[in-house]
């Protein structure tokens, strides 16, 4: 093989250090260059994705404020951890809230949902952001896998009455995914809890100061 193998270790050491330094420097330069090149695009992409995930439940034409920056955190009875509430407004008039909440009542672990509630207290749309339910059973809560999650649109606490916000396997008003009663029920109750919270707090929700810049978004990821 053509690797040179000098017998004298002393000059080898210096040479080795030099080679290490040069290659390290080259690597650092390359990385700095690529970082400069991509930094802005990556930030933009991250923003775009966060917004796109919110826009699953609220079309972009429905609001014109900076949705991503108009939020606060709240504790909602029945749900685990702190929920992030985004507020959509059109020319300053409240349109809807988008609640990013987590329920721990799923069949295997937490389910994270995004729930849009109109000013009137009506559900606009619901999507599942994250879950670990059994494939083929509980994962039908995802919009990509079934229509089930769309049944909540335009429903509110009066329609059906609060007590009937349950799966029909438990004498409630909503369809149940077959063989996934626990999962279905967890989602239905999470929506109900958000609606109840909204009803109790609606006078203050749109008046609260936004927490943008407080670093709450990071804190949210760390919760259980």
């Amino acid at each position: 093989m053509n690797t040179s193998q000098p017998n004298n270790p002393k000059p080898g050491l210096v040479k080795n250090l030099l080679v290490l330094a040069v290659i390290g420097l080259l690597a650092a330069l390359t990385l700095t260059g690529v970082h400069q090149l991509t930094e802005q695009r990556i930030v933009d992409e991250t923003q775009r994705r966060a917004l796109a995930s919110l826009q699953q439940v609220l079309p972009p034409e429905a609001y014109n404020n900076a949705l991503i920056d108009d939020y606060f955190t709240a504790r909602i009875a029945g749900l685990s951890g702190a929920a992030t509430i985004y507020r959509a407004r059109f020319d300053g008039t409240p349109v809807a809230i988008l609640a990013d909440v987590v329920t721990d009542q799923g069949y295997s672990g937490d389910i994270r949902l995004l729930i849009a509630v109109d000013v009137s207290g009506q559900v606009r749309s619901v999507r599942i952001l994250d879950h670990r339910e059994t494939p083929g059973l509980g994962d039908k809560i995802e919009r990509e896998r079934s229509e089930w999650i769309t049944q909540f649109a335009k429903r509110s606490l009066g329609d059906p009455p609060r007590a009937a916000w349950e799966s029909d396997q438990r004498q409630g008003a909503f369809d149940t995914l077959s063989s996934a009663t626990i999962t279905s029920s967890a989602v239905i109750r999470a929506i109900r809890d958000v609606l109840v919270w909204y009803q109790n707090e609606q006078d203050e929700i749109y008046a609260l100061r936004s927490e943008a810049g407080d670093g709450q978004i990071e804190a949210k990821d760390g919760r259980e």
Partner: protein, 229 residues
């Protein structure tokens, strides 16, 4: 050992394929291959890193003493993976999101270190380029075969979500070969990856044996000592 270009290609693509013979880089191989496009995405990213690292190692090989060889390899590979990761985050954001942690984890794919150590550090650049391409393509082909097979069995489609990699025009590439309801859920779940890879390895051995019944000599012993991740 002869290292002419045809042998190098034959080794990478078949005789000493990283996926089904050396069984290297199994973690990403099993984790992301639930669709053909994921397989292609990770396959190309790995190929790119492998080719560049082989070239870089081969180009610097005359200055690399045994004492600093491994740190240098790690430095080179880690930098290249970071570069690929950043580029994908910037220009292939959706795909990068789907592949997730497995792009940064290319750095732990033993194939790359194995080729740097066993081949590129001893061979001139042209052959190292050849070797990187051959091994990378061999790995990518296994990823694609496994991804396509699982996607077909599990969802009845091929090349679904191709626009994540190729841009919007590629949405028409999606091919539906059977109704989604017929899909075998098992195929797209993790057990399907293990069973699928097992079947691919078995198939490879079956063909290998029927071709050269008495040839006991493994094709390229140089990199077989390095264990799978």
């Amino acid at each position: 050992m002869t290292h002419n270009h045809p042998t190098i290609w034959r080794n990478g693509l078949w005789d000493n394929n990283p996926g089904v013979v050396q069984l290297l880089g199994l973690c990403p191989l099993l984790a992301v291959t639930n669709s053909a496009i994921n397989g292609i995405g990770l396959g190309l990213a790995t190929l790119l890193v492998l080719v560049l690292s082989n070239l870089a190692v081969s180009a610097t090989r005359r200055w690399l003493q045994p004492e600093i060889r491994i740190p240098i390899f790690v430095l080179i590979i880690a930098s290249l993976v970071t570069v690929v990761d950043l580029l994908m985050q910037a220009w292939l954001a959706e795909l990068s999101q789907t592949l997730g942690i497995f792009i940064p984890l290319i750095v732990t794919n033993c194939t790359i270190l194995a080729r740097a150590e066993a081949f590129a550090s001893r061979q001139p650049m042209a052959r190292s380029l050849s070797d990187g391409l051959a091994q990378g393509l061999g790995f990518a082909l296994v990823l694609i075969a496994l991804g396509a097979g699982r996607e077909l069995l599990g969802q009845g489609t091929l090349m679904a979500d191709a626009h994540l990699l190729l841009g919007d025009w590629a949405q028409s590439l999606e091919l539906r070969l059977m109704p989604a309801d017929w899909g075998l859920l098992l195929a797209v779940l993790p057990p399907g990856a293990f069973i699928g890879l097992g079947l691919l390895v078995a198939l490879h051995q079956r063909i290998q044996r029927s071709q050269q019944p008495m040839n006991e000599n493994p094709a390229d012993g140089s990199s077989q000592a390095i264990d799978a991740t």
